[in-house]
Symmetry: C2
Subunit: 168 residues, 2 copies
């Protein structure tokens, strides 16, 4: 089963994280692959990184990607991320595989859409979750379940900045 | 700050769970209050229940509530849940307070809307998350952030049943 969490609202990555702990709590094996997030000190990584049952692989740099002018390393890291995702999807080792922010990596052309579609075509018994805004319509077509997180009301609109422990 | 996760799509409770582990990973204190979920063996509860930094309180029974004909105990448990929520919101003990499925408890009239609005009016420095479909418009008005999880595509529509470890 392939789930997509997309849309402009909050809760895409966190919904995947919630499913991760539900799955770990049921004694199953989880893999979390993150694009564009290497070395960011996220609370969730600090919490999960040494727990049994989960493997975490991060790709990217510790800088935010500039979508209008990505660095060469952003492309290289996205390629490595896709290679790891392919390996993990084919491994039959996990019950849940989360590929975080891949939709954005494709939208920003760090990764070709065709590569994401190839990953979606890999046969696996695992639950697969792909997250990020801007899921391509062809990705949505291949998914079994798609949830759009829709921002109805947001305090960022009122000028409040992202806060540690909540937004990251 | 008050966040609401509502809508007919997946990811409402799991997004709150993801925020819980992000918050715990940042060394902060969390309280999870769940309506209509007592003694259900959820993977996330098995995973979280003995972790440091989190207190979990469940209200309800081990049976699904019949929205057209709730039992007396469903009303009693919802009332106890609201009392616990009030106590927790006033305690200044937590950085994040998740009140799970309260929107549904109000929709099904286990709890008066006025009680939920009273809870929203309690002054607290904690992040407060209320989840569940059917968030009332007056609840949305009082919230700082509202995300609607919108079902775009769902395999339940194709006749597949809920699966342990994924849906619960």
């Amino acid at each position: 089963m392939i789930h997509i969490y997309t849309g402009n609202g909050k809760g895409k990555t966190t919904a995947a994280l919630g499913l991760i702990i539900r799955t770990l709590g049921n004694g199953k094996q989880v893999c979390l692959i993150q694009f564009m997030k290497k070395n960011f000190v996220y609370g969730e990584i600090k919490f999960l990184e040494n727990k049994p049952g989960i493997d975490i692989f991060q790709f990217g740099t510790d800088q935010l990607v500039d979508p209008n002018n990505p660095d060469e390393i952003d492309f290289e890291e996205a390629k490595l991320g896709a290679e790891k995702a392919e390996e993990v999807l084919k491994s039959n080792k996990y019950d849940l595989i989360v590929i975080d922010e891949i939709n954005v990596a494709v939208k920003w052309k760090l990764l070709p859409l065709e590569k994401q579609l190839e990953l979606l075509d890999i046969k696996t018994d695992a639950e697969v979750i792909m997250t990020g805004r801007y899921a391509h319509v062809k990705v949505i077509e291949k998914a079994d379940l798609v949830t759009e997180m829709l921002e109805i009301k947001h305090y960022f609109n009122e000028g409040i900045q992202a806060r540690k422990g909540i937004e990251f």
